[in-house]
């Protein structure tokens, strides 16, 4: 069962990414493990700041490739990107962002032409669009529709406690 969920996770990643690997860097010393679990066998030790390729993710775990070894580490153990630090802009390409793109619309050449932005000036100049709001409202789903959507996706509610100390302002979950 564990194996099949791993396989599906990797498949989903490949489907989304066109099997592209993303460069990343380890932020601490990391044990690459055979399975996405803390008690799984370690197959390789990587020092901090090792360059790796991310080839899949399953929840808290990412599948990494280093040299010819592939294994699992925690998502928090890496930073995606060439250096792991904030990346300087590169002329003539989007670098990592390009390989991540899911492309709902035009990108690539649109970087220089036809980019539609939203910034402080546009917000300051905006006059309200009631018709667009009516369109927005027309897409709303009710509880029954949302429940059916969740069921179709095999999403089941869980009991999960709030985190941290400042979470007291919003109490009580939907059961």
């Amino acid at each position: 069962m564990k194996l099949s969920s791993v396989a599906i996770g990797v498949f989903a990643f490949a489907a989304c990414h066109g099997a592209l690997a993303e460069p990343a860097v380890t932020v601490r010393a990391v044990e690459l493990r055979a399975q996405p679990a803390s008690d799984a066998k370690s197959i390789k030790s990587l020092p901090a700041e090792s360059a790796v390729d991310v080839v899949g993710r399953q929840g808290a775990w990412v599948q990494l490739r280093s040299a010819r070894i592939t294994g699992w580490a925690k998502l928090f153990d890496i930073r995606v990107g060439e250096s792991g630090a904030p990346v300087a802009a590169k002329k003539g390409g989007n670098g990592v962002a390009d390989t991540l793109g899911l492309a709902m619309g035009t990108r690539g050449s649109s970087v220089t032409t036809g980019v539609r932005g939203l910034d402080a000036d546009m917000l300051a100049r905006a006059s309200p669009n009631a018709q667009a709001y009516a369109t927005l409202a027309s897409y709303a789903r009710n509880k029954e529709q949302a429940n059916a959507f969740a069921k179709a996706g095999r999403l089941a509610s869980r009991e999960v406690a709030e985190l941290g100390t400042s979470a007291k302002t919003a109490s009580g979950a939907a059961k």
């Binding site: 066109g18 803390s38 989007n94 793109g101 709902m104 709001y133 709030e162 400042s166």
Partner: protein, 304 residues
Amino acid sequence: MIVPRPILRGAAVIAVALLPTGCGTPGTTQPAGGSDIARSVLGGYSLGGINVGSAASAVSHAQDAYREIPEAEEIEMGKDIAAGLLGAAPLARSSEQEIYVNNVGRWLALHSSRPDLPWHFGILDVDTVNAFATPGGNIFVSRGLLARVHGESELAGILAHEISHVAMKHHLADIQKNAQKNLALDMASLKSGGLAGEAARAVARVGLEGYVRGLSRDDELAADRMGVVIAARAGYEPYGLVAVLQSLAAMPQDDAALGFFLKTHPSPHDRLAALEAQMPASFETYAAANPALARYGRAFPTRK
């Protein structure tokens, strides 16, 4: 900030005259007397903690600024702000994608502390990276942000973060805090006889300015913490938001698409560090629901 008394008085009277119906105190007709007008403003749209009835101390102003706004009024306010936002950026045209995002969002919202708000979710047809929440439950995510999303759990992470802002009333508190100095001046400028709806527009302006100011770092980190909890409660693996923050951290931080977002949010690296410190090991046991992954790809096909 204390605004001079004469402006406040004018602002209060004009506000009463211009407030749309439905914003007044329920069950009362608008009173005509001066101090009653002041009170009805406080009890109505109630912006800025405007207090013209007494010698206002800094303390009472602060209290007014955090007065509980009734939900019906919060929803009206959110509608005006959302309409303003849609005046600056159009909705994406794909009704299939809009409905998909509403399904994910509505299901998540059912697991927040405010499941019964009239939640609306929209895709803004802009290339820049951003997401917005208004009071009352209007949530927007930009096409530019969705272009960096890899699946339904990542979308859920973004939407749950925005839902958390609404659940914890972050923007509402921000508007109340800032209306005192901003809205009073806007109202005063309407003295020469504005139209009905002008007051609502002034409110929307304070709300829209909130997106330029940005919320506090504490509010953003709190929404991250609450967001991963809401996603987990809704059955998603809760690391979707973490993965999105990783993707944003990997972008050139001077990318024009990120400029406005980074000016108004803590850096993705800071947010990742805060989440790592807060997310318990038990979250690692929450697995992804695989059918949800497949349908994301159908709604947002990968460009070849």
